[in-house]
Amino acid sequence: MNEVRSQQPAGRSFRAEGFDYRSFFFSGLTGLATLLILAILGVILLNIVINGLPGLSWRFVSTIPKKDFFDLETTGVLPMIVGTTIRVLVMTIFVIPVGVITAIYLTEYAPNTSLVTRLLRAAVNNLAGVPSIVFGLFGLGFFINFIGKNLDALLHNPGPVWGQPAVLWASLTLAVMTLPVVIVATEESLKAIPTGLREASLALGATKLETIVKIVLPQALPGILTGGILAVSRAAGEVAPILFTGVAYYMASLPNKLTDQFMDLGYHVFVLSTQSPNIEQTRPLLYATVLVLLGLTFALNLVAIIIRARVRKKLRALN
């Protein structure tokens, strides 16, 4: 027995031989890393909530600001809230159907080994990793310069109507960006539905499409919802893709056409924090605006994460 023990390498002491300091130390280190990440999250959130709350008021969120929007007493963020909401809603109209249908194809129809399926999966994964600024360039190069300009030429518009930054183009750009978010979330929830359910439906004589529409989709609704919410929350906070495709520095009125430009909460945060004439003076205003933005995106995200955790639990229980 002694002989065996002496052959053990020095570093690999057994637990039974006493307290294992090495393991304790390194486990503690990973625990600390986890704590540090949680602390970063906590500090950011607390800092924004504590500094942002005093500036928040009903007047602030319901006022259309004058040209000079750096004064907390008179300014407001109504056009930004409206602008962000509109661009995100228009986006969901495009992205949800396409995303859900793609997810249905991937889970219900796609043959596992075919080249098309592999290409499709690679495309979805890749799309998720494309930098947001590249989507902005794409929106400018494709939607505005190609589709918009050609549409103008086709309709014989005297000036640019479609061939310029607009809500529609910003929304479409965001739809392209959030497509993988919707696909992945929907796919996850479709996979969580027991195969037995589909087989039962098929056994009763339903066709495959009937099964999908009447049995699978209603079951997958929470997951589709999660995908939609995650996409909305991601898109609401993104600024880079809309920089060249629709956002305006200042507009006196709310947008009322799809070809209008719009003001945006995220972009407004950027403007306030980089172009303020006096950063100390505008600090409370800035914090209040950030809090509104964070409230919008984070609340949505929280809901999505809770639903998603439930879906995942269900999935694990199945496997």
């Binding site: 625990g31 970063i40 600024i133 499409l209 906070g237």
Partner: protein, 395 residues
């Protein structure tokens, strides 16, 4: 039987639909429609590449000329020029050229002559003014500019002589990204080990979604926080000169990278079969030893994939770097400022003349960024896919 297997078998059964699809043409049509729509993801990736590259293309053919002083052709020589020469000289597209009549073209040539006359004589003599700075040589290599002591790499798209050297931007991007990764990867991998291997299940269920919530903070909010709070705190702690520098930007980038690296690394570590850990524990190892010596080596490709994808996320991040630092300097010192590729595109696209050399170069930068992240994503995906197959014992 695995669920995957059942699905495969079932879809095989559906091949028998050949008999049915004549009976139900609408359903057959609907299924074709589903297939067609699902191809949109592939289409979109192709379109992105095509249209970002399309805007940069004239640069690649060498069709752009940014020289401030160009050879002027007198209007009297109009008839000697071929259409191709004329198009090049006036900077027109073929369709524009076709749309214009003789008189318009001649007046355009007159405008060119007049424009040259307005340039100050001293500047006209400057050899730099005759350089086409959009050539690859000037984009990538240092050049001895007039009034500079030695050859330098300069990105300076405004002023009389526009200098488009992209090397300072590459360094700016790499500098901030590397700081971000050095900060984020150890933290995120440590947390992934803790959450997937060491924590109790109840802790895991709370901590994992909480860390993933970090990705829900919009990057402009992270940028704002870095600009207003972190920059001051870090300067006080480290005592460097420039308040806003690549270091602050890098740490803030790290915040954005942590959730990416964490979730992929955690995914890889969790997919290592339980049997590995149980075997190690049964042999008397501690939980840490099992995690460090057994699970981590098995999941190492996954950690690598997480780092690669984190790199892609960091190099493509725009708003954080844009808000924290933006001065373009040619220096590897992380306590100097930095201007990344993304920052440059975001900040300068608004003032770049559509179709001009500056505009094309910004698109070229975008295309480069797309290509880099495309390759990184591909590597990350392939590594993760192989790892999972390997761990499931399918290979």
């Amino acid at each position: 039987m695995s669920p995957r297997h059942t699905t495969g078998k079932r879809s095989h059964g559906w091949m028998g639909l050949h008999r049915g699809h004549r009976a139900r043409p609408l359903e057959w049509l609907a299924e074709k429609f589903i297939f067609a729509v699902s191809l949109s993801a592939i289409l979109v990736v192709l379109l992105i590449f095509l249209f970002v590259a399309r805007e940069a293309a004239p640069l690649l053919y060498g069709r752009m000329n940014s020289a401030a002083v160009q050879e002027v052709i007198p209007v009297s020589e109009f008839d000697k020029l071929s259409p191709a020469q004329l198009q090049q000289y006036l900077g027109l597209t073929p369709s524009e050229l076709a749309a214009m009549d003789r008189a318009t073209l001649q007046s355009l040539m007159e405008v060119k002559v007049e424009a040259l006359a307005e340039i100050p004589a001293a500047f006209r003599e400057d050899p730099d003014a005759r350089i086409n700075t959009t050539q690859w040589r000037y984009l990538l290599r240092s050049h001895q500019w007039t009034d500079y002591a030695k050859p330098e790499f300069i990105w300076q798209p405004v002023g009389q002589i526009k200098k488009y050297n992209i090397i300072p931007l590459l360094i700016g991007s790499l500098k901030t990204t590397l700081v971000g990764l050095l900060f984020a990867v150890p933290l995120a991998v440590g947390a992934a080990i803790y959450v997937s291997q060491l924590a109790r299940p109840r802790v895991r269920e709370v901590v994992k979604p909480t860390i993933e919530m970090l990705s829900g903070i919009p990057s402009v909010v992270v940028g704002f926080f870095a600009l207003l709070v972190m920059a001051t705190v870090l300067q006080r702690v480290f005592g460097y000169q420039t308040r806003l520098n690549a270091f602050v930007a890098g740490i803030a980038l790290g915040f954005a990278v942590i959730p990416v690296v964490f979730s992929i690394a955690e995914d890889a570590l969790t997919s290592v079969p339980q049997a590995y850990t149980q075997a190690a524990l049964a042999l008397g190892s501690s939980k840490w030893q099992a995690a460090w010596q057994i699970v981590l080596p098995a999941a190492l490709p996954g950690v690598f994939a997480a780092t690669v994808l984190g790199f892609g996320r960091a190099i493509g991040e725009t708003m954080i770097v844009l808000m924290v630092c933006s001065a373009s300097v040619m220096s590897w010192n992380i306590f100097d400022s930095a201007r990344s590729i993304t920052t440059t595109i975001a900040a300068e696209m608004a003032e770049a003349v559509s179709g001009g050399p500056h505009y094309r170069i910004l698109f070229l930068l975008g295309a480069m960024l797309f290509a880099v992240t495309f390759v990184l994503n591909l590597i990350g995906d392939v590594v993760m896919h192989r790892l999972k197959l390997q761990l499931e014992g399918k290979r």
